[in-house]
C-alpha cells in the first residue's frame, strides 16, 4: 500500500493503462502541457506526447462527436471535461450516438470512451461548476456511471473503465480530489456494480454517494457512542447499481437512509428506495428515507452554498430519527 491523493491515484491508473494500451488517448482543454486544470494529466504530456494528450478548443459537442468517431475506428478516447457541467453541450452526441452505437451496430462497433470530470458542490464554484449529473446519466441505457469516493477506488475503477468496451462517465467530486488514502501497489481493476461496505454496523444501513460517504463515516463514529451502529455502503457505481449488497445490509438492519448531495427528485436515492421496496419489502421495519441536497441551482455565496448540502448534523439527525421510527 502507498498513500496517494485521489487525483494522483486516478492519474496513476491513466498512466499505467496508457503504457499498456497504445490506443488510449486523452482530449480536453488544457490537458496537454498544462497537465489539466486539476492536475489530472500532469506529467503525461512528457511521457506520451501531444498526439495522445490532445488539447482542444472550447467545443464540447465537437470533440465528443470526435470521440465517438475515434472509438468506432478502434481507439480508446478519454475526454477530460474539467467540470462535467459542460458535457451538457454535447448531450445529443452522448445520448443519441455514443450510448446507442453498439445497439445500432448490432455489436459490430464498440464504444470504449471515458468521459471524466469534476462534479459536486464546494469551494464557491457557483451554479455552472457544481452539478452532480450522475442520476441523469444513470437514466440512459448504454452508459456506465462511476462515482468513486476513495483514491483506491478512483484508481481501480478508472482501470476498469479503460479496459471495457462501453462509454463510461467517470465523475470525480471536487471535494475529494485532494483527499489521501491507501492505494494498493499491485494492478487492481475494480469491477463495476460491486458496492463497497465502508463501515459495518447493525442498527441502520446508510447508502452514501461520493463525498457524502466520508461525512456519513464521521457521523457514524459519533453515533456509535450513542449506541447506534451504522452500516455505510458506497455503491461506487450508480450504473450498474449493486442492489444486492444494499438489500443484504437491510436484511441485517431493517432500515435504510440514502445520503446524496445530488437532487432528490428522480435521483439515485429514489431508485434505491424503489429497488429496496421491490426486493426487500419484507425486511423493512421503516420506510426508506432520503437526505439530499436542496433542489435548487447552486448558489455562489459560501454561506448559502453550505446550507444546501447535507451537513454532519443533518445526517446525524436523519439517522437518529430513522432508528427511533
Amino acid at each position: 500500500m502507498k498513500e496517494l491523493t485521489y487525483t494522483a491515484a486516478a492519474r496513476e491508473a491513466l498512466t499505467e493503462e496508457m503504457a499498456r494500451d497504445a490506443t488510449i488517448f486523452v482530449m480536453g482543454e488544457g490537458i496537454g502541457k498544462r497537465g489539466g486544470n486539476f492536475n489530472t494529466t500532469a506529467g503525461l504530456f512528457d511521457l506520451y506526447g501531444g498526439v495522445r494528450l490532445c488539447d482542444t478548443p472550447i467545443t464540447e459537442r465537437g470533440f465528443i462527436g470526435l470521440a465517438v468517431g475515434a472509438a468506432m475506428t478502434g481507439t480508446r478516447p478519454v475526454i477530460d471535461f474539467m467540470f462535467v457541467d459542460f458535457i451538457l453541450d454535447g448531450m445529443g452526441e452522448i445520448m443519441n450516438q455514443m450510448a446507442k452505437m453498439q445497439y445500432m451496430s448490432s455489436g459490430r462497433l464498440t464504444m470504449p470512451v471515458v468521459l471524466r470530470g469534476c462534479i459536486g458542490i464546494g469551494g464557491a464554484s457557483a451554479t455552472h461548476h457544481s452539478g452532480n449529473y450522475y442520476a441523469m446519466f444513470a437514466n440512459v441505457p448504454g452508459l456506465r456511471v462511476v462515482v468513486p469516493t476513495t483514491p483506491a477506488d478512483a484508481k481501480g475503477l478508472f482501470k476498469t473503465a479503460l479496459r471495457g468496451y462501453d462509454p463510461v462517465l467517470f465523475l470525480e467530486h471536487k471535494s475529494l480530489l485532494n483527499t489521501k488514502g491507501p492505494v494498493p501497489e499491485e494492478d487492481v481493476a475494480i469491477p463495476f456494480g460491486v458496492a463497497r461496505i465502508a463501515r459495518e454496523g447493525h442498527s441502520v444501513t446508510v447508502v452514501a454517494l461520493t463525498v457524502m460517504v466520508n461525512r456519513v463515516l464521521q457521523v457514524a463514529d459519533t453515533l456509535e457512542k450513542e449506541g447506534i451502529s451504522v452500516e455505510v455502503i458506497d455503491p461506487r457505481t450508480v450504473s450498474p447499481l449493486d442492489t444486492d449488497t444494499i438489500c443484504a445490509s437491510i436484511k441485517k438492519t431493517g432500515r435504510a437512509l440514502v445520503v446524496d448531495e445530488a437532487f432528490a427528485p428522480c435521483g439515485i436515492g429514489a431508485e434505491i428506495a424503489a429497488r429496496v421496496m421491490e426486493t426487500a419489502f419484507d425486511e423493512l421495519d421503516a420506510p426508506v428515507r432520503r437526505l439530499n441536497g436542496a433542489f435548487v441551482p447552486t448558489p455562489y455565496s459560501p454561506p448559502l452554498e453550505s446550507v444546501i448540502v447535507p451537513s454532519n448534523d443533518a445526517i446525524a439527525t436523519a439517522i437518529r430519527d430513522l432508528v427511533r421510527e
Partner: protein, 424 residues
C-alpha cells in the same frame, strides 16, 4: 373535512390515557372551547376542550368509556354538518389534526408533538418486516403496540411479544406456588468459567420457574408480617391428641379454615387482576403448598369455611398424599382464592412468599415458638406464650395496604381466639 379526535398527550411522560367520560354524545354539536370528554392520565382526570367546531362522531370500534388507549389513537371525528364520517361508506379523506384536543388546564399542553395515527382499517400499523417475523413466529400482532415514534409495530415488538410467554388464566390456576423466597434461576444462566454440572430442568421445574418468574415480574407484591399468639391453637391440638377417635388437624388445616373464613369478610382480597379487568371470585377455596419430590405442588382445599375442621384435615391429608404420589389431577390444583405456605417446620419465622397467580394473596406460616410475653404492662405481668409470625404477601395492583392489613388482622383474631369460629 373530517378532523380526527385522538387520545391527547397531556404530559411529557403520558403514553396512554383512559377515556373517562364523553361530555358530548354521538351527533352532538361541539363548539370551540367546549369540553367534550374527560381523560384520565397519571391518576388525574383532565377536561378536554375542543379547538374546533363540528359534529361529534364516535368511532364505532373506538374505545369504550373506561378503556385505556395509546396516545394518538383515533377515537372519533368532528364533522361538518351533513358530512359523512370516514368510517361510513363513501366518506372523503381525513385531515389529521394533532391540535384538535387540548386539556382545559392547558399548562401541560405540548405543542407540536407528533401524534401518529395508530389505526388503519381498525388494525394497528405494522412494518413489513415485523409482519413477516410475526408470520414466521406465529405471533398474533393485532394486539401489539408499536414502540417507535411512528407507532408502527416493529420487528422488535413482535420478537419481544414472542419471547414473553402468553399467560392464559387457565395455565395460571395451576399446580405450583412458592413457599420461601427462593427465586428459581433461569436455565439459561450458566457461569461460563465454572465447570458446573448443567442439568436440564424437569417439566414441573420449568413450569414452576416460569410461573414464579411471571408472578415476581408482574405483581406489585407487598409482604406484611405480624406476630400472633398461637397458644390457643396449640392447646386445641394437644387436647385432641390426648383423645382417641378424634382427627388432629395440622396447623395448615386450621389456617386454611381461618383464611377461608377471613376471605368471606374481605371479599376485595378474593379477586384476580386480568387484562380484561378485576375478576371477583365466588367461594373460598384455599391452596396448600406441598413440597414433593417433583417440586412444589399446590392442591386446593374446597370450601374449608363450610366444613368441620375434621373434614378439612381428612381432605387435606388425602390431597397431600396424592400430591406426593403424583396422582393429583390438574383440576385439583386450580381455582384457589388464596394459598397457604408453611415453613415453620424448618425454623423459619417471617418470609416473603410469592403470590400464586391468578390469586392475589398468599399467607406464609412461621414456626411456633414459646416466648415470654408481656400480659399486663402496668402490673409487669408476663407469661410464656406460643408465638408465631404470619407473612401475608398481597398484590398491590389489586389491593391497597390498609385492606390487606385488615384481612391479616382478621386472620390474627381468628387464630388467637379459635372459639370465634369453632362455634360458628
Amino acid at each position: 373535512m373530517a378532523t380526527e379526535i385522538v387520545m391527547p398527550k397531556l404530559g411529557w411522560t403520558m403514553e396512554e390515557g383512559t377515556l373517562v367520560e364523553w361530555k358530548k354524545q354521538d351527533g352532538d354539536r361541539v363548539s370551540p372551547g367546549e369540553i367534550y370528554m374527560l381523560v384520565e392520565s397519571d391518576k388525574s382526570v383532565n377536561e378536554i376542550e375542543s379547538f374546533e367546531e363540528g359534529i361529534l362522531r364516535k368511532l364505532p370500534n373506538g374505545p369504550n368509556v373506561g378503556e385505556t388507549v395509546k396516545v394518538g389513537t383515533v377515537i372519533g371525528y368532528l364533522l361538518a354538518p351533513g358530512e359523512k364520517a370516514p368510517f361510513e361508506k363513501d366518506a372523503p379523506s381525513v385531515q389529521t389534526s394533532s391540535a384538535v384536543a387540548k386539556p382545559a388546564s392547558a399548562a401541560a399542553h405540548e405543542a407540536g408533538h407528533q401524534l401518529a395515527p395508530v389505526l388503519r382499517n381498525g388494525l394497528p400499523r405494522i412494518s413489513p418486516r415485523a409482519l413477516r417475523v410475526a408470520r414466521e413466529l406465529g405471533v398474533d400482532w393485532k394486539s401489539l403496540t408499536g414502540s417507535g415514534t411512528s407507532a408502527r409495530i416493529l420487528e422488535r415488538d413482535v420478537r419481544n411479544a414472542h419471547a414473553r410467554p402468553a399467560v392464559a388464566p387457565q395455565a395460571l390456576a395451576g399446580p405450583v406456588s412458592q413457599p420461601a423466597g427462593t427465586a428459581p434461576k433461569a436455565p439459561a444462566l450458566t457461569i461460563a468459567a465454572a465447570p458446573a454440572v448443567v442439568t436440564p430442568p424437569s417439566a414441573t421445574r420449568r413450569l414452576i420457574a416460569q410461573r414464579l418468574q411471571t408472578s415476581a415480574q408482574t405483581t406489585a407484591a407487598v409482604t406484611l408480617t405480624t406476630e400472633i399468639d398461637a397458644t390457643e391453637l396449640v392447646k386445641l391440638r394437644e387436647v385432641l391428641k390426648t383423645r382417641t377417635g378424634y382427627v388432629v388437624p395440622a396447623y395448615t388445616d386450621l389456617f386454611a379454615k381461618i383464611c377461608a373464613l377471613s376471605l368471606r369478610l374481605h371479599p376485595a382480597i378474593n379477586a384476580s387482576w386480568t387484562d380484561g379487568g378485576i375478576v371477583a371470585r365466588d367461594g373460598q377455596d384455599i391452596g396448600i403448598a406441598v413440597q414433593t419430590d417433583r417440586g412444589l405442588l399446590v392442591p386446593v382445599l374446597r370450601s374449608p369455611a363450610t366444613k368441620s375442621v375434621a373434614t378439612v384435615a381428612t381432605e387435606s391429608a388425602a390431597l397431600i398424599q396424592q400430591a406426593r404420589e403424583g396422582t393429583l389431577g390438574a383440576g385439583a390444583m386450580q381455582g384457589a382464592s388464596a394459598t397457604i405456605t408453611n415453613l415453620g417446620m424448618f425454623g423459619v419465622d417471617g418470609f416473603t412468599p410469592i403470590v400464586n397467580l391468578p390469586e392475589s394473596a398468599i399467607l406464609g406460616m412461621g414456626r411456633i415458638v414459646p416466648k415470654v410475653v408481656v400480659i399486663d404492662e402496668a402490673t409487669e405481668k408476663t407469661a410464656i406464650r406460643k408465638m408465631m409470625v404470619l407473612s401475608l404477601t398481597f398484590d398491590h395492583r389489586l389491593v391497597d395496604g390498609a385492606p390487606a392489613a385488615q384481612f391479616l388482622a382478621t386472620i390474627r383474631e381468628y387464630a388467637e381466639q379459635p372459639y370465634l369460629w369453632l362455634t360458628g
